[in-house]
Amino acid sequence: MPARPFRLDVIKLVLWTIGGGLILFAVWGSILTLQQGRFTPEAWQSFVIAGIALGSVYALIALGYTLVYGILFMINFAHGEVFMWGAFSAWFTAAGLSEQGLLETNPVLSFFLVLATAMIVSMVIAILLERIAYRPLRGAPRLVPLITAIGASLVLQYTARGFFGSGVRAYPDFGLFAGVVDLGFLRLGLDELVVILAAVGLMLGLYFFINRTRTGRAMRAVSEDKDVAAMMGINVDRIIVTTFAIGGVLAGSAAILYTMLFNQVHFFMGFLPGIKAFTAAVLGGIGNIIGAAIGGLILGILEQVGPNLFLTGYNIPSPNQLQDVIAFSVLVLVLIFRPHGILGRKENA
């Protein structure tokens, strides 16, 4: 039996200590909180549901990051702005419809018009991004498209600021999603229910598209090996454009779901959800589609439940101000124990 040399890896030891400490802190905090009995089961339920609703929006945006990463091994940092442009353009449609009165007489049709605007605009922006900013750099070192992405993100943000100003705008009320749904065992806002169902529907659709269609198969092939895929007669450029388009459509729909929950649009609104969604994608294992969905949900739930569960017990004042700290601590934890994310694969490139 060959003796395995035992080596103490100092860095790993430190990381595991930090990780273990964080987990202990969270577990002990949760015990203290639950002992306090401050929150009713209904309150926990509403935190979780709000978290799932927010998480599904993150997941939809995260899919855009992950799809592009899966194929090009680049992080499209301008994806948050694709989301913002969808929300903004749809605001103009919604405001216009509201002025014409169609919003009141036919809210369902108006809603789908607004949704279509967001999806189409986001898709067009994503395709243009690929064509103008990324394709010319396809063969360049990895850092180059990354920096271009950050630049593109700034250009998109400040173009929106130039066109639409820096104020906050509120969506007109569709009057469709007000109210509470009582399922007996579960009470949740109708808007939350619609957001969750829509997000699940879109993700299932994407899953079937990737796994059951010719284009989907081609996307998987390109993701595995671009050169071999090209030899097999796959038009790699077209597949890449398709990937960006799908990411854009998902971001556009996420934008509408987000505004259903939060109702406000402004030129900087893409930044934070973009960062959060990127975190979700990394959390789930970047490049992995189911991973992005899981990562989004975990992040959303942790943001809502985490501060109240982990910190209330320690009597920390204003725990909810620390929700981002919790979200990113979880990212750190996952990266310590599973450097490739929850469902990630080891990179071969």
């Binding site: 309150a43 906050v168 109702n263 439940v305 909810n320």
Partner: protein
């Protein structure tokens, strides 16, 4: 030989450069000489000062050459979610300038900067204004968080900063007051107490929770309210929560507050988060019947539009704008609306900015003197004149400054959102 030539050429160039510098230095050193020569001529003075005052003044004089404009800086939040707050003040100052286009014989020019409603923005705006030499004074900032660093930076250079809308108590508290900082807006130790009185006596509620956004304004106002609410009617504060600027989802913090089911929820924050909390509180189980209230940070139609129907019934405190007299309705408002291009005023501090401009103009003229065509304004004397203002009849009332720069004639009123508009309900006339 060639090498030697090259070196000597470089040497000649260097000498020429040095000589040029010498010339420049020479010009500079002559200047004080010139001005002392001018000083010996009889000084034509408005405030009765002389060049000796400038030397005696710790910060020297603001000097404005004949025919040059007198520049007043503004540092207000003129972009972003809270732009209505800053633009409102800016229009107020513009109206004042329109009615009084000259100060001490010089046309007034504004240098508008954006305070961003943040510490960083206040720092940047103050630094940008420093680059304007001989700035006569600054109207700003809009937000207290911006006011703290701006007051520090400008006071260090002896530049007067007069805020039309900073209300955080710490800005004029003796321990933290910066020498050249004053304000025409009320102090929140008054606003917080007024709101507590309203909630205690008029609404008759006994428990309340507060949310602040970590800004100097919200943090201090929420604390004043909490203390006064406990003191005035023995009310219970169930939670003092905080959120971060830029957050959008508040179900966690609202759920936490709902656990104690307070009767009143007070969140004196700003427009974007204020609107979101207004909406989300209505959807939070346990807060459906809680009365909501805020303050002048989001007392603007922008907030009404963003909060939509959920704003109905909301209570907001702010400065009382029923000034009495005809001037406001007949002259100020039409001019304001022309500048803004809106149908109504967009926030509640325009009159305070108007007063800030005029008070600045009055005191500049009181201390300025001209000498050989140049107008001199000794900085410390200007500050002292400003701080000794007493019984000045302004638009917002009778202004008297304290030693730490509180100049407002503070009158607080509470309005309620009724049918999508702000309706003043307290104090009753």
């Amino acid at each position: 030989m060639q090498k030697y030539m090259r070196w000597s050429a470089i040497l000649v160039v260097l000498m020429l450069v040095l000589a040029a510098c010498q010339d420049g230095g020479g010009d500079g050193s002559e200047e004080p000489g010139e001005s002392t020569a001018a000083a010996s001529e009889p000084a034509e003075s408005m405030g009765g000062g002389s060049a000796a005052d400038c030397d005696a003044d710790e910060f020297g004089c603001i000097e404005i050459a004949e025919g040059d404009p007198l520049v007043i800086g503004t540092a207000l939040v003129i972009t972003g979610a809270n732009e209505s707050l800053g633009l409102d003040s800016q229009y107020g100052a513009e109206v004042a300038k329109q009615l009084r286009p000259e100060i001490a014989g010089h046309t007034v020019e504004f240098n508008h900067q954006d305070d961003g409603c943040s510490t960083e923005g206040g720092t940047a705006a103050a630094r940008a204004l420093l680059s304007e030499e001989n700035i006569a004074g600054v109207i700003g900032t809009s937000c207290s968080s911006a006011g703290i660093p701006a007051a520090e930076i400008l006071s260090a250079e002896g530049i007067l900063l007069v805020s039309p809308s900073n209300t955080a108590p710490s800005l004029t508290a003796p321990e933290t007051h910066q020498d050249f900082y004053a304000r025409t807006a009320h102090n929140d130790s008054i606003q917080g107490a007024a709101m507590a009185e309203f909630v205690c006596d008029v609404l008759g509620l006994t428990s309340a929770a507060t949310i602040d956004d970590g800004s100097a304004y919200a943090d201090q106002l929420a604390a004043v309210f909490a203390a006064e609410f406990q003191e005035q009617c023995g009310g219970t504060i169930t939670a003092e929560e905080a959120i971060s600027v830029g957050d959008t989802d508040f179900s966690g913090v609202l759920g936490n507050i709902a656990a104690d089911a307070p009767e009143f929820l007070y969140f004196p924050i700003f427009v974007a988060e204020g609107a979101l909390i207004t909406q989300q509180a209505k959807d939070t189980a346990g807060l459906e019947d809680t009365v909501l209230g805020g303050a002048d940070g989001y007392f603007t139609p922008d907030w009404l539009a963003a909060a939509g129907g959920d704003a109905e019934g909301h209570y907001l405190s702010g400065p009382d704008l029923e000034f009495g007299g005809d001037f406001y309705e007949a002259e100020f408002l039409p001019a304001y609306l022309e500048f803004s291009g809106e149908d109504t005023t967009i926030s509640v501090f325009h009159a305070h900015a108007f007063d800030a401009y005029n008070l600045l103009a009055e005191t500049i003229e009181a201390v300025a003197f001209t000498d050989g065509g140049t107008t001199y304004i000794p900085r410390t004397a200007l500050k002292e004149a400003f701080f000794s203002t007493s019984g000045y009849e302004g638009l917002t009332g009778t202004l008297t400054c304290t030693e730490t720069g509180d100049c407002a004639d503070a009158k607080i009123s509470v309005s309620q959102v009724t049918d999508g508009a702000f309706v003043k309900i307290w104090p009753e006339e």
